[in-house]
Symmetry: C2
Subunit: 95 residues, 2 copies
């Protein structure tokens, strides 16, 4: 659960999620092109790649290999429980 919050803590990663929310099944290069075009982000391919790794580790992005392409898809399930933790007065363990 902490991984999800850490993943969301970075603005570039939130832009990536925005992009994937608009269009699923994008490759790393597609994401790079669209991020720089749409939000004037200057991040390199490797930077985006590392962000995607982290997002996948947090369960927010799922990937699918096809030949030399790797497609990335947004998985919103971890987000659907986030706010629940403190709102309904029911703290859990973890961090």
């Amino acid at each position: 659960m902490g991984d999800v919050f850490k993943a969301l803590a970075d603005p570039t990663r939130r832009y990536i999620l925005d992009e994937l929310a608009e269009r699923d099944d994008q490759t790393l290069f597609e994401i790079c092109v669209r991020l720089t075009g749409k939000y004037q982000l200057t991040s390199s391919r490797q930077a985006i790649s590392q962000h995607l790794e982290l997002l996948e580790a947090a369960g927010l992005v799922r990937t699918r290999r096809e030949g030399r392409y790797k497609f990335h898809t947004l998985d919103t399930r971890p987000l659907e429980q986030i706010a629940e933790r403190w709102i309904r007065n029911k703290p859990q363990e973890n961090p």
Copy 2:
């Protein structure tokens, strides 16, 4: 909005929110005692104090002065919109 995510990215701060969700209007010392007792956290008073500052800046905690006491209260309103951003396919700007 990024401040909220950054605030939630730290496990100690999430414990603090847990604690405030259980009981509102706690002072810094109360929070310290309960955190160390309940979760075996070893953080010092100053560490917790700095976390509370950050949580207040993120809008997740509201404070109230009373004599030499400062009471801290959980404000869940920023949490109530968090998950909405990507779930309903409507990216916003920000970061």
